[in-house]
């Protein structure tokens, strides 16, 4: 997936192309503003952007020898990339810190308020309290629940009802604010953002998707959405937020503002910074950007992404949202070894993860398709409120669904020691000696059994409700819910194994490695492996998943179990469904995204795909020097093609070049306004010199500078495998088809996508944006 664009292929425009240095000769040929930009919902021309950047770089390097000022300019131009990465890291880290602290506070706002300091959440409220007991570490007098504030007591059925009511009320209020803000100010701020960013990074333009209003609204509503208790995470939206920061900061630097290809390099690095602050995993962030999000990832971007990710992680750490200089909640500190036999349950967890991933993708896509096509999609606000109400009403009674999902995961990852007093760690301590940290396997007490029941109910609720939550019109991510599902399944299996090993330590499978009184099984490790398996099953991440998990947990000795589970889950999920969740959403929305990971295995030829087809009218071409302004304008108004080939003459059909519709429109309008004498009957020419004209004809219009003199061509008998490969590797928008040297037809990226869809028996009309 990382085709490195070879820098030796110099496809720059020769003789009068855009950005060429031969412009000194003709002062009339300065670039018109607007030429070289793209319309909304169009694909960029990677080759043109890259060659423009190379021209610009060459110009600066040549000029730098002239004066010191030019030398400084060239040095600062080289430095600007690094400065931009630094700024992106700083901004992303600060925004992530803001989101984390606010989300923690607002989540606890549903349960009560801290009268010892209104801005503290529950944990920080009881931080310095002297009234915290060993058994009940949550209660302290400074923290007042709503029933304590309203009816001055915390005991009794009425207090429970008051707490329940306030919880649901706050959840509904937060969800309502979130969806209203999204609807009124920035509709692009909803959803996860990663499928759209993948499409943007492959060359598509969605104006406003990475703008400042989207950034502000996404940040604010993400906190509200997470605090409302819905089953969603904030990792995917954080990637969107970081890419918005990247896009906005690009406007400060000329080099990146004007060039769409360079901007996408910056966006890849910003995506890495986004994952880095979401998880506290800089290396995992870079690998995630490489594997999942980016389309072209030159090696230079690797180093810069790492720098941006590190700066972001460092900024977040210095804001210190969690105290103790930790970056994420899930930092585990156990290092107990695992045994070879335990690979069997780990692989079982992998199979579970794969099954759940395939199930989730299928049901979520079906629900999202319903939302797109039926009446359900007309009531987004009502939908959000209903889902929030159901989630809040079902979540309050069970303490494991009431707590925020990140807290749940960190509690499940935790290994139980003597100092833990949660229900999950209620083991019977029947041993005589105290060994400090390493406790032997103990039989489960009453608390553990009831925790298991509650966790099973939590699992079912989360599996079902996440299907309906992901894709709603509020910012929603799915990393945390998937990890929660996996962690619960893993912990259940781990406690089961632990009790099995304790009560049946004389069985053959346990005898060899698990003696009585030893610490054999760590349920926390099973939770970790389960979380990795489920996340891998849904997103189909491979290397990046393993790296993120061991950066999250600090457990380097657990790489083999994590890899075993991730691989098993990916194989099982791939056997049941081809695509990950993000690719499935891309296909659902019909974005023109050319999948770079799959092979094209059919034996069709270029002439089977090219337009015009057999019964269509002939290809619309422009001639190089015999069309008038009026002719061109009528062609533009009658057709909707985004570009036209230019040929020597209609009889010979020999190719000269390719010109884009947008550039034509802008140049002709500009010429009519600024150049005197240009009228409808003026002749347009694309050659170097004006054609010989009879006297008393209006002046001619030269449009050579908008002509692409090196369009890509293939012959009509080229296999489609090669054509698809060319489109992928070079990032083409269109490719001309010739036959015996004469222009025959054109293949655009949308034609390629429709052909692939047709070959895979999908609906080719689902490719939108035509």
């Amino acid at each position: 997936m990382i085709p490195v664009i070879s820098t030796t292929e110099d496809k720059s425009y020769n003789g009068g192309g855009i950005g060429s240095s031969n412009r000194m000769m003709d002062f009339l040929e300065e670039p018109i503003p607007g030429v070289g930009t793209y319309d909304d919902f169009n694909t960029i021309d990677w080759v043109r952007e890259k060659s423009r950047d190379r021209d610009r770089h060459r110009e600066i390097t040549n000029k730098s020898k002239e004066s010191t000022w030019a030398l400084i300019h060239s040095v600062s131009d080289a430095f600007s990339g690094w400065l931009l990465m630094l700024l992106i890291g700083l901004l992303s880290g600060s925004l992530a810190g803001l989101i984390d602290i606010s989300a923690h506070w607002m989540t606890d706002l549903k349960e009560g308020i801290c009268t010892g300091g209104l801005w503290f959440n529950h944990e920080h409220c009881c931080w310095n309290s002297e009234h915290v007991t060993f058994e009940d570490r949550d209660k302290c007098p400074e923290w007042n629940s709503w029933s304590q504030l309203i009816i001055s007591t915390d005991e009794g059925a009425f207090a429970y009802i008051v707490n329940y009511f306030m919880y649901v009320l706050w959840a509904l209020l937060f969800a309502f604010l979130a969806v209203s803000l999204v609807k009124v100010f920035a509709p692009y701020a909803c959803g996860s953002g990663i499928p759209e960013i993948k499409t943007i990074l492959s060359g598509f333009i969605i104006r406003g998707y990475l703008g400042k209003w989207t950034l502000i609204i996404k940040t604010i509503t993400l906190v509200l959405a997470v605090s409302s208790g819905l089953s969603l995470g904030k990792e995917g939206p954080l990637v969107h937020v970081a890419c918005c920061c990247g896009n906005i900061l690009c406007h400060c630097f000329n080099k990146y503002r004007k060039n769409e290809a360079k901007r996408r390099e910056v966006l890849s690095a910003a995506a890495a910074a986004g994952v880095s602050v979401a998880f506290g995993a800089p290396i995992g962030g870079v690998l995630f950007s490489l594997e999942e999000v980016s389309y072209y990832f030159p090696l230079k971007t690797l180093w810069r992404s790492f720098f941006a990710a590190l700066v972001a992680a460092f900024t977040l750490r210095s804001i210190n949202p969690f105290g103790n200089s930790r970056l994420v909640l899930f930092y585990v500190e156990f290092h107990t070894p695992w045994h070879l036999f335990e690979l069997v349950p780990f692989i079982l967890l992998g199979i579970f993860g794969g099954l759940w991933g395939a199930l989730f993708i299928r049901t979520n896509i079906a629900w999202c398709r319903k939302r797109k096509t039926t009446q359900l999609g007309k009531y987004p606000v009502v939908e959000v409120l209903v889902v929030t109400a159901i989630t809040a009403i079902l979540a309050f009674p069970n303490e494991y669904t009431r707590m925020s999902t990140s807290e749940l995961i960190s509690e499940l990852f935790n290994d139980c020691g003597l100092l833990d007093s949660s229900k999950l760690c209620d083991y019977e301590n029947r041993f005589n000696t105290s060994k400090g940290g390493e406790l032997p396997d103990r039989p489960a007490g009453v608390g553990v059994y009831s925790a298991m029941w509650q966790l099973a109910l939590t699992l079912i609720l989360k599996i079902i409700i996440t299907i309906f939550t992901f894709g709603m019109k509020i910012p929603s991510g799915l990393f945390i819910p998937s990890m929660a599902v996996g962690a619960i399944a893993g912990r259940l299996l781990g406690v089961g194994m632990e009790q099995l090993a304790y009560y049946h330590h004389d069985w053959a499978i346990f005898n060899s490695w698990c003696s009585q009184g030893a610490d054999c099984i760590t349920p926390g490790l099973y939770a970790m492996v389960g979380a990795a398996a489920c996340l891998g099953g849904v997103t189909r991440m491979t290397v990046s998943l393993v790296v993120i998990m061991f950066e999250l947990t600090g457990g380097l000795e657990y790489i083999v179990p994590l890899m075993a589970a991730a691989m098993t889950s990916k194989w099982v999920a791939d056997a049941l469904g081809r695509e990950g969740i993000y690719d499935a959403h891309i296909r659902l929305n019909g974005y023109p995204f050319l999948e770079a990971k799959e092979e094209f295995a059919h034996k069709t030829l270029a002439m089977d795909v090219m337009k015009p087809r057999r019964n269509d009218p002939l290809l619309t071409v422009l001639t190089q020097d015999s069309m008038t302004v009026e002719d061109v304008e009528s062609i533009i108004s009658e057709t909707t093609y985004s570009g036209f080939p230019v040929v020597v003459s209609r009889e010979s059909q020999r190719l000269v070049g390719f010109v884009l519709r947008r550039d034509l429109i802008i140049s002709i309008e500009n010429a009519r306004k600024k150049q005197d004498g240009v009228v409808s009957t003026s002749v347009i020419y694309f050659t170097e010199h004006s054609p010989p004209m009879p006297p008393y004809t209006p002046p001619t219009l030269k449009l050579r500078n908008i002509l692409d003199l090196s369009p890509f061509t293939v012959t009509d008998l080229t296999p489609m495998e090669i054509v698809v490969d060319i489109f992928r590797k070079l990032g083409l928008r269109q490719c001309l088809v010739t036959h015996n040297g004469r222009l025959l037809g054109i293949i655009t990226k949308k034609d390629v996508l429709k052909h692939i869809a047709q070959m895979a028996n999908q609906d080719p009309d689902s490719i939108l944006f035509n």
């Binding site: 803001l98 602290i101 606010s102 308020i113 801290c114 009268t115 010892g116 300091g117 209104l118 801005w119 503290f120 920080h124 409220c125 931080w127 310095n128 309290s129 002297e130 009234h131 915290v132 007991t133 060993f134 058994e135 007098p141 400074e142 007042n144 304590q148 504030l149 009816i151 001055s152 007591t153 005991e155 604010l177 209203s180 803000l181 609807k183 009124v184 509709p187 692009y188 909803c190 959803g191 969605i206 104006r207 406003g208 209003w213 502000i216 609204i217 604010i220 509200l224 105290g323 999202c368 939302r371 797109k372 987004p380 003597l418 100092l419 007093s421 400090g436 894709g471 929305n589 939108l768």
Partner: protein, 197 residues
């Protein structure tokens, strides 16, 4: 200040009841003096012999953060102290309550501003415009009867303001252009379901 002693902490100054009122609560919470210490050494000691488990907190420097300095009324005597302290786990923790306070204030103020702006755009502005432009607006709005979106009149204002060029009208022009963009986005996301299912 009346205290209702229905839970354990009857002597704590933080128990409030309904007679106190919301203002008092906010005032007390704003001062929050007790909770401003940002450094602590937290020692958790499990149950030992007859003593139940206990948690000790003390504002102490990092080098002194151990069982002997923090566990102040030592519950066991003599030789048992070492055994007791071996089971205890002491951790030094830092936080910045100023950062938390500032962040929450920033977030709430941005949220408040956005909510006010949203209320203005959806409720106040149409009323103002109807009063200012009177009849002509009513005739024009017959064309887009079904359009209840907040930025429905952006087109006409855009057309009108194109001729004038001073600062205030530039701001209004930018605002109307932004409203058009948001309306386009809203159409593609919510109505046609083209982007973002």
């Amino acid at each position: 200040m009346e205290l209702k002693a229905s839970v354990d902490y009857s002597d704590s100054p933080y128990r409030l009841d309904i007679h106190e009122g919301a203002l008092d609560l906010l005032f007390k919470g704003w001062q929050g003096k007790q909770n401003f210490e940002d450094v602590r050494c937290k020692c958790i000691c499990p149950p030992y012999k007859d003593n139940s488990g206990h948690i000790y907190n003390k504002n102490i420097s990092q080098k002194d953060c151990d069982c002997l300095h923090v566990v102040d009324p030592m519950p066991v005597r003599g030789p048992d102290v070492e055994a007791y302290c071996l089971r205890c786990e002491c951790k030094y923790e830092e936080r910045s309550s100023v950062t938390i306070k500032v962040t929450i204030i920033i977030y709430l103020s941005i949220l408040g501003l956005l909510l006010l702006y949203m209320v203005y755009l959806t409720l106040v502005e149409p009323i103002l415009k109807r009063r200012l432009f009177g009849h002509s607006q009513l005739i024009q709005s017959d064309d887009d009867v079904g359009d209840h979106q907040p930025f429905a009149n952006a087109h006409d204002v855009l057309a009108r303001s194109r001729s004038r060029a001073n600062v205030l009208n530039k701001v209004e022009y930018a605002q109307q252009r932004w409203k058009l963009q948001v309306q386009e986005q809203r159409k593609s996301v919510f109505d046609r379901h083209v982007v973002l299912s």
